[in-house]
């Protein structure tokens, strides 16, 4: 969902600076936030350095009544396009028996990493498998999702089921400019279905564990609705609380796809995986590593690996972050590349609670 809006960055910045909260602020305003992601990049293939305004994200979050809330996140990539990353109404406390309903466009609860906005990743970009299966922005789509918090005592069990427009299975889009003659399909896709179950356990006062399974099913090609695709994801996260401001977070996810044959492509079963470990060593410093691999979505015989390390510094709380990443990408065919990335991330607006 893209809107071309030249010069939007400057215009919107003016609006939000003037809307900053005041001591006598009107309490009906939603929380406004702006996150800027500035990057420097060098790679050993071109041996050239570049710098870019990778993304500006603008968020509006607030209750719409005592039982529902709404969130809108706009992403500006470069200076030539605004994208609606998420725009959703959540009926949080409207239904009995632990049910909730989300309507609108959202990052799907497909694994644990997908619903997280990419600027929150210590390793900077979405895992390679997300990019390959869903595009640069991960799995996001418009639809309705029913969630349920099970009324059990010993563990936390949650389940979700949803129906989405189906764009997500078409492979998403890239932030790169489309090639000449290449156009996005205007045809409405078939509706797709999603589901997820996850289980949270506190093994001890300092160790907790969240594991889940997700599935997405539909038709990836609007022209051939009978050709179906199913993508499943298994995920796990362990968090070890090592003391005030110190913790170790280990994430692992694996994706399994099955795509029916179409007139233009054979049946494929692409796979992908990702794992990371992030040690928050103090309030200001964190470091870690990651590795992952993915088959090409259209050709499951072609595989690419990526691995690397990262270090982060919170200059002033979490409102000013600097991250450095070195990563190596090795495709089966062709030369690999080593990249050095530097990121400066700033955030304006209220601090949002940290998700698990």
């Amino acid at each position: 969902m893209r809107i071309r809006a030249h010069g939007a960055v400057v215009a919107l910045s003016v609006v939000f600076v003037s809307a900053a909260p005041r001591g006598d602020a009107a309490p009906v305003n939603p929380d406004l936030s702006v996150i800027g992601d500035i990057r420097g990049l060098w790679d050993d293939v071109t041996e050239e350095a570049s710098i870019e305004l990778h993304e500006v994200e603008i968020g509006f979050v607030g209750p719409v009544n005592p039982y529902a809330s709404a969130e809108v996140f706009l992403g500006i990539h470069g200076v030539d396009g605004i994208e609606v990353e998420e725009a959703k109404l959540v009926l949080d406390r409207y239904f009995p028996a632990g049910f909730g309903l989300t309507l609108g466009r959202k990052l799907l609860d497909f694994g644990q990493l997908n619903p997280v906005h990419a600027h929150a990743y210590p390793f900077l970009d979405r895992p390679l498998m997300h990019q390959e299966f869903f595009g640069d922005d991960g799995a996001a789509d418009i639809g309705a999702r029913l969630d349920w918090l099970a009324p059990v005592d010993a563990v936390t069990l949650r389940a979700t089921a949803g129906v989405v427009r189906g764009d997500v299975l078409a492979g998403g889009h890239s932030h790169e400019e489309p090639a000449e003659g290449e156009e996005e399909s205007e045809e409405d896709p078939e509706l797709a279905t999603t589901g997820r179950v996850d289980l949270f356990v506190e093994a001890s006062r300092n160790v907790s564990f969240l594991a889940g399974g997700s599935v997405l099913h539909g038709s990836p090609d609007a022209h051939e609705p009978d050709a179906k695709a199913t993508i499943a994801c298994a995920d796990a996260k362990v968090v070890c609380d090592l003391g005030p401001d110190r913790k170790l977070v280990v994430n692992a996810e694996a994706m399994f796809g099955t795509f029916d044959a179409t007139d233009e492509a054979p049946a494929v079963d692409p796979r992908g995986w990702f794992a990371s470990a992030d040690l928050r060593a103090s309030k200001r410093w964190n470091l870690g590593g990651f590795a992952g691999g993915t088959d090409e979505r259209a050709d499951d015989t072609v595989h690419t690996m990526r691995y690397g390390g990262f270090v982060g510094l919170a200059l002033m709380e979490e409102t000013t972050l600097f991250r450095a990443v070195v990563r190596r990408t090795d495709p089966d065919e062709g030369d690999g590349a080593t990249e050095f990335l530097l990121q400066a991330l700033f955030s304006l607006g209220p601090h949002r609670p940290h998700r698990y």
Binding site: A20, P21, G23, R93, E202, P350
Partner: protein, 296 residues
Amino acid sequence: MNPFLASLLAAILFAASSTPAAPLRVVAATNDLGAIARAVGGDAIELDVVARPDRDPHSLPVLPSTMRATARADMYLEIGLSLDLWSREIIRGSRNRKLTVVDCSRVITPLEVPVGRVDASQGDVHPEGNPHYWLDPANAVLVAELLAREFAAIDAERATDYEARMTAFRAEIGRRLPEWSERLRGRRFVEFHRSWVYLAARFEMEIAGRVEPLPGIPPSAHHLADLASMIRETNVPIAIRDAYHDPSAMEFLARETGVSTAVLPTSCGEPTPESFLAHFDEIAAVLGAPAAEARP
């Protein structure tokens, strides 16, 4: 009617009428609110607490288990004043439409309410005022009175019990207040964060300086040097921090000036009235100790 059946029916009716009402399920954002809730609710409430007392309440990760506890709760107690923004996330995630949410800050008079424009250049400032109000025992009494009313509103059967316990808690704080006051009045100290303004205001203490130049902003070397000079020149006897604050600044001040330093938690260790009162005893012992008097 068969005499046996009549007896059985009578026994069932008696048992039903004498079965105690189910406990009120309460989730408190912090141990301090939990302790006050326990003081008012006694055994008639089932209590869960979200924040660990040794973790910074300004930035708490939202665990799914806290949503589960809140999902079955009757009431959630918020600190308010934008301290526990994570509480809203927990309440939303609980999917509990029957939950009564009580913002405990609504009965206190906030201190340090900023005037005029508020933005991040002033640090992590709270637009509605300083949120560490539970560190004034008089505010704890106000919160206890509020909770007695709120508990009674959804559990009228035990209203007199709540009122009686609240009165006893208020009386106990009133009984201990003079002793705390005697030990703390006029004492001077350096704090790490703007945590102790309510305590200082209640007991006419002086906060001589702060490690953080602005709320939530780590100190520069220049700021610490100025603070050390001030401590030396005005003989500030003690500097305190919470367990989750960076110890290196305090170590620097102790090394440079000889000032006593102490880890003094801003939250009580357990969500019980005894722990809440003992926390003020500990505060009085640390800040009111002879060593904490102005050095010659």
